[in-house]
């Protein structure tokens, strides 16, 4: 698999490109929660004319961009403890109200990272199972209750192992919760316990992609080319 690895590191999408692709699917006016880290980039790539409203677990809806360095107000942060800003339309609320939004199914989309996603939609993204200090945050709440749960991830681990798998080996974050996976090579939906390939980058063949995926990729109708701007 090392040969393939060399290949894909040259052709795979960057994290920014994966985030860009995910951003294209967000409807105008959608309420969206972005996971800490790489998923946060999605906010930057909303297409013209579409404006999502972002929610952060610690009690802010419809917040603005990061402030300039030196202008941070540390009472105004997001779930990643990064400074944010207010803008017209921002609302503050307490943590129980914030998770009432989550648990009550009011979020249209939650976008998270993953260690593994199973073909059943099971997600593992909170614990490597290796000991150390466990930490879960709001992920378990988000994945069980947002109307649509999408994952952004490299298609394979740094060691080249598949992250899309038949069943997760790591501790689960949620059961049957993921509906779409945006990877560095493809867009894959979870439908009825199966991975259905929707898009792949033109530079990789179906068979090569399948070899990098831990469970069968099904095709239903067209597989579109996954083409992103340089980012």
């Amino acid at each position: 698999m090392s040969e393939t690895m060399t290949d894909i590191s040259a052709i795979k999408l960057s994290n920014a490109q994966i985030a860009w692709r995910a951003a294209q699917d967000i409807e105008d006016g959608a309420y969206v929660n972005l996971g800490i880290g790489f998923p946060e980039m999605v906010a930057k790539f909303q297409p013209e004319g579409k404006q999502a409203i972002f929610h952060t677990e610690n009690g802010v809806l419809d917040f603005g961009e990061a402030p300039k360095p030196g202008e941070e107000d540390w009472d105004c942060i997001n779930a990643g403890k990064k400074a944010i800003t207010i803008k017209p339309g921002t609302a503050f609320f307490h943590h129980a109200d914030s998770f009432a939004m989550v648990r009550g199914g009011h979020l249209d989309v939650a976008i998270l990272g993953a260690y593994e996603v199973a073909q059943t939609g099971d997600l593992a993204n909170w614990s490597t199972g290796k000991g150390g200090v466990p930490a879960v945050g709001g992920a378990m709440d988000l994945v069980q209750s947002a109307k649509r749960v999408a994952v952004l991830t490299d298609h394979v681990t740094k060691k080249g192992e598949p992250k899309l798998v038949a069943s997760c080996s790591l501790p689960l974050t949620g059961v049957g919760c993921v509906t779409r996976i945006y990877t560095s090579l493809a867009v894959v939906d979870v439908v009825g316990g199966k991975f259905v390939l929707r898009e792949k980058i033109p530079a990789i063949s179906f068979d090569e992609l399948q070899a990098l995926t831990g469970a069968p990729l099904h095709v239903e109708g067209e597989v579109a080319d996954l083409i992103c701007p340089e980012l």
């Binding site: 105008d28 419809d62 017209p88 339309g89 609302a91 939004m101 648990r103």
Partner: protein
């Protein structure tokens, strides 16, 4: 994104026969009279209505009942200064009543909005309103298990609204309105004033827009108590 709609007529036109509709207010305080009257004009029937009360006089919820649009009422206190409309319909067997203790009603609605399908409360333990419900002992005290309450639509009276649906309320007119806004699939708001985005301080927002489907401005809304003192009848 702009959730504002031009008229109460248009706002309620989405409500079909047979819908479950939460209506905010405690007595007349916070009751969205103009939305209720528009719902009467719209004509939807066989409704299940959730409200703390059962109407007063011949306006608002009482008028909706008098027009025979309500199949079932879920409430805590179906009495008022002039409860005749409900009382007669109920005693004639024309309307079903589910009586719920007031705090349990509020919490069931909040649970519906917060994704909590069931919770335990000491309220009503050992009474006939707990009959048939599971009970359990926690730390030596007895509790009744209650289920969430959700609705297809909520009709809400707010004071200020912005185009994203962020809301404030006026004094004790807040009451059930914020929790009902959470518990409905689609929440329709009448606000005394629609302000521009940013017109409500982020720290003063009581209902964030995520809970709101549409907003219509009703400047100088009618107050049920005043209508009743003037012996108003609708339609």
């Amino acid at each position: 994104m702009d959730k504002t709609i031009a008229s109460v007529r248009e706002a309620v036109s989405v409500i079909p026969d047979g819908a479950t509709v939460m209506i905010g207010g405690f007595g007349g305080s916070g009751a969205p009279i103009e939305l209720i009257h528009a719902l009467i004009d719209h004509g939807a029937k066989d409704l299940t209505v959730v409200n703390n009360n059962a109407g007063n006089g011949h306006v608002g919820l009482a008028a909706l009942i008098e027009q025979k649009r309500v199949k079932k009422l879920i409430c805590s206190f179906p009495r008022s200064a002039d409860p005749r409309v409900f009382t007669e319909a109920y005693l004639a067997g024309e309307i079903e009543l589910e009586l719920v203790p007031q705090g349990t009603l509020a919490e069931r609605i909040r649970a519906g909005g917060a994704g909590i399908p069931a919770f335990y409360t000491a309220t009503s333990y050992g009474t006939e309103l707990a009959e048939g419900k599971p009970t359990e002992e926690f730390e030596g005290k007895h509790y009744v298990r209650e289920r969430w309450l959700k609705a297809d639509y909520a009709l809400i009276k707010a004071e200020l609204a912005d185009p994203h649906g962020n809301l404030t309320y006026r004094m004790a007119a807040r009451n059930f309105n914020p929790v009902m806004a959470m518990a409905a699939t689609y929440t329709i708001v009448q606000a005394s004033k629609v302000v521009e985005l940013g017109g409500i301080d982020p720290e003063h927002v009581i209902t964030p827009g995520i809970f709101v489907g549409s907003v219509v401005e009703v400047a100088k809304p009618a107050q049920e108590e005043e209508l009743n003192r003037a012996e108003a009848v609708y339609p």
